[in-house]
């Protein structure tokens, strides 16, 4: 499939979205709710582009737009840039103290007049939904988007400590604005109002995961892990085994 983006031709695969094609070819389209390997969510609206097909032009969100042969795409028209600025403006009103969004606003030259800004607001979440998607992908489904309109939020059922949460922290890791609080101290991890005991690596003794995570992995894989290894130790172990096998070979 041939797609013309900002004047140049690119060849796309069937089923690919416009944003995937662009990213693959290192074409810059900003986004907040997109993560490689996840399906597009279409929430933040920042990835808007103009698509010209035949004699009709429309604005689409590229993260969910399946490419079609022969379309022409403009990623940076004045209209698109202005809309992106408005979106950033709206996010700035929502999260006036969030570092990431403030930086983005600066980059785009977006300023919010002080009479619209409420600097007391402590909100950091922009409701991109990546955390919920990550949790869903792990098969835990501990958090979800609840309510609608301006009261929409990410939460565990009834805001209580969720019995499904395994404390893996994947949600916090994918969050673009650092909105999810994950605190680790004294061998404990606190996330989503729930406290977990951290497990230490059997080799180096460093705390690295929660018991619930290891259980979850065992359950998913249908095995019982004997040795709890942190990431660097397990990488080292693989290296050692490889070296051993290699030496045996020669």
């Amino acid at each position: 499939m041939n797609v013309k983006i900002d004047g140049k031709y690119y060849s796309g695969n069937k089923g690919e979205t416009l944003l995937e094609l662009a990213r693959r070819n290192e074409i810059e389209i900003p986004s907040l709710c997109y993560k490689e390997g996840f399906e597009g969510l279409g929430r933040c609206r920042l990835c808007l582009v103009e698509v010209i097909e035949g004699n009709s032009t429309k604005t689409v969100s590229s993260c969910v737009y399946p490419i079609r042969d022969g379309i022409e795409v403009l990623t940076n028209t004045k209209n698109i840039v202005n809309m992106r600025k408005d979106i950033i403006f709206l996010l700035l009103l929502r999260t006036p103290n969030n570092g990431y969004i403030r930086k983005l606003a600066e980059e785009y030259g977006v300023k919010a007049p002080s009479r619209y800004l409420d600097m007391e607001r402590e909100e950091d979440c922009i409701l991109c939904g990546l955390c919920v998607k990550a949790c869903e992908k792990l098969g835990t489904n501990a958090i979800s988007l609840v309510n609608r309109g301006i009261t929409k939020k990410v939460s565990t059922p009834y805001d209580d400590a969720s019995k499904d949460c395994i404390g893996c922290g994947a949600c916090a890791e994918v969050c673009p604005t650092n909105a999810i609080s994950l605190v680790e101290q004294d061998g404990k991890r606190i996330i989503w109002n729930k406290t977990f005991d951290l497990i230490s690596c059997t080799r180096c003794g460093k705390c690295y995961s929660t018991e619930e995570v290891l259980h979850h992995i065992d359950e998913q894989l249908g095995v019982k892990t004997q040795e709890y290894l942190c990431e660097s130790c397990s990488r080292r172990l693989v290296g050692e085994k490889f070296k051993e096998a290699f030496q045996n070979l020669i």
Partner: protein, 607 residues
């Protein structure tokens, strides 16, 4: 015996939700009580519980056939009178007749009233004429004849062709050609396919879909079976708003009945075609009426819209080809199949064939459901059918299309009611809601009101819709309390355009309409609020003071008697004065003054 008995008499008591709320069931029971089993009346009138008659605020409505006598606002206590005079003696009970404000007289048959005379009923053809719980009534009025015709005299392609040629467009708001939708769906070779009825009706001001489901449920069922046959589907869902108790009940009863009579299930009418229906209760949010959110909700997921770059005719419910149509759209299908595309095409105007049901409410004399040919002029709707503005006050605007429709000013009163014309002036057909506003309406407040509704009803998925509507709401709130600034108007316009273009579903894409149209046609009201700190309609209380023009005041004292807080002082026959420290700005004096001597001043008015 009076000749009224020559033909079998029928008494129809409207038992639609509106009338039921006004005690119509007691009226019905009273008739049953007096005329019931042990009655000595030789020919027993048939009493039926019928669906909505349209003139809702004048209910309960009782119709007596075959003479077509119609009584309005009937109380249980009136029943004795009706039986004694009309049923037994064939006389008319004058005081219960409808008073036609246009013709300035009482009218015996409701069909002669201007409210009904200008209407053309297709979708509502059976409402108020049949007992929705009696399939026999429906059959008597050509019920299931269209289905038989489709199954035995037409191929699926011919059925689709007929619907396409009729020019019928979806009545749920977007106006997509129904035949084309069916056609595209029929081309996908992926099974099972689904047929879905959108009975969510989330617009608080509209009730045509409810009336059809309550008053003529079989027509919806018949339309859906015909579509199933045309596109090759064996299963359908009716998604009905959860609060619609009576619609749910009547619809379920009709489905059961239709199954019993062999119109649903396997081997329909011995044709080997199989189709069945099931009701799903709505998720209770306005956005659940949006097609993709509705399907997500049927699948058991949260009702959030998705991008529709792949349409639901290809991948709808459970990713299978699906046809979704609105209740009113379905109600048009049987008549089109029976009477043919050409018949339908002759009604209405080119590109907009057939009729549309509007729910006419607000400051008009006659309110209720109104079915008129597409292309009817707005002023015909408001003045001929609606009877004009209550108390003959000056007309200000009409809001059409539901919460995200636009406000139409006086200059466009001769606009044709069709999809394109309404779009062109910044409003829309939407749900068919028509709200009439007079000079006591503040257009800034109207815009604020709709933004408040939509900020709560946006699903919250996209930034532009969720944050954008909320930001517009805050700006409007500021303006209505006197804290607006001139550049607020520019920001509203700018955000409005972005929300329209950048949002994912039609809720966000239409939400700014109330703001954009009020700025376009009533900018002076915005300026008045911002610059003069004044709301000349007297609605925004922070910007309102009432005072009495001593030149005009005759000292009749009506205002001071109606003032709930005794803020008005004055001797009889001498000009009165309002004490602003006591006044709560309720506006009673303004509405009751027979000389229009009560004036509205701004926040800073000094008298």
């Amino acid at each position: 015996m009076n000749d009224i008995y020559d033909e079998k008499m029928e008494i129809l008591v409207c038992c639609g939700t509106g009338c039921l709320a006004n005690n119509s069931y007691r009226v019905y029971e009273r008739f049953k009580e007096i005329l019931g089993e042990e009655s000595e009346v030789a020919v027993k009138p048939l009493i039926k519980a019928t669906g909505c008659n349209g003139l809702c605020e004048k209910g309960p409505v009782v119709k007596i056939l075959p003479k077509e006598i119609a009584y309005f606002k009937v109380l249980p206590d009136d029943v004795d009178d009706i039986v004694e005079k009309t049923v037994l003696k064939g006389e008319i009970v004058d005081r219960l007749l409808y008073f036609d404000v246009n013709e300035r007289k009482r009218i015996v048959s409701h069909k002669d009233a201007s409210f009904y005379k200008h209407q053309h009923k297709i979708a509502l053809r059976n409402i108020g004429e049949i007992d929705p719980l009696c399939i026999g009534d429906y059959l008597k009025r050509d019920g299931y004849r269209a289905l038989a015709k489709a199954l035995f005299e037409m191929t699926p392609d011919q059925v689709i062709g007929e619907v396409e040629r009729s020019g019928l467009r979806g009545r749920g708001g977007a106006g997509f050609p129904t035949g084309r939708k069916w056609n595209i769906c029929s081309t996908y070779e992926s099974f099972p396919k689904y047929v879905v009825c959108n009975g969510d009706e989330g617009d608080p001001g509209a009730f045509m879909d409810r009336s059809i489901m309550e008053g003529d449920p079989h027509t919806v069922i018949e339309g859906m079976i015909i579509c199933g046959y045309a596109i090759g589907s064996n299963r359908g869902f009716l998604y009905i708003r959860d609060e619609y108790d009576l619609a749910l009940k009547n619809m379920q009863a009709a489905i059961d009945n239709a199954r019993e009579f062999g119109y649903l299930g396997s081997n329909i009418l011995e044709s080997s075609f199989e189709f069945d229906l099931e009701i799903v209760r709505g998720g209770g949010a306005f956005v659940c009426g949006e097609s993709s959110a509705l399907m997500a909700s049927i699948e058991g997921n949260i009702g959030e819209p998705r991008a529709k770059y792949i349409r639901s005719v290809e991948k709808g419910l459970w990713d299978k080809p699906t046809v979704l149509n609105n209740v009113e759209t379905w109600a048009n299908i049987p008549p089109i199949i029976i009477n043919g595309a050409e018949w339908f095409n002759k009604i209405g105007i080119e590109g907009n064939s057939g009729t549309k049901v509007f729910s006419l409410v607000g400051k008009v004399k006659n309110t209720g459901l109104v079915e008129v040919p597409m292309g009817t002029k707005l002023n015909e709707l408001v003045y001929q059918i609606g009877g004009g503005i209550i108390r003959d006050r000056p007309f200000k605007a009409v809001q059409t299309g539901g919460p995200s429709g636009g406000c139409i000013p006086k200059e466009y009163m001769d606009i044709s009611l069709d999809f394109e014309s309404l779009d062109k002036i910044g409003s829309m057909m939407g749900s068919g809601g028509v709200i009439v506003m007079d000079d006591t309406t503040c257009m800034v407040e109207v815009a604020r009101y709709y933004m408040e509704f939509l900020s709560e009803e946006s699903c919250g998925k996209c930034t532009t819709c969720r944050e954008g509507i909320n930001t517009m709401l805050k700006i409007l709130e500021n303006i209505t309390i006197g804290e607006g600034q001139l550049d607020d108007i520019d920001l509203l316009l700018q955000l409005g355009e972005t929300i329209k273009e950048a949002s994912l579903c039609a809720l966000g894409k239409t939400a700014p309409n109330p703001v954009l149209t009020t700025i376009r046609y009533f900018r002076h009201e915005y300026l008045e609020h911002i610059k003069e700190k004044r709301c000349s309609a007297g609605v925004c209380k922070d910007l309102t003071t009432y005072y009495i023009d001593s030149e005009l005041c005759t000292g009749c004292g009506l205002c001071s008697r109606r003032c709930p807080v005794a803020a008005i002082d004055g001797k009889l026959k001498e000009p009165h004065i309002i004490d602003r420290d006591i006044c709560t700005k309720c506006g009673n004096c303004f509405t009751v003054c027979p000389r229009n001597a009560v004036k509205v001043g701004g926040a800073n008015y000094e008298c």
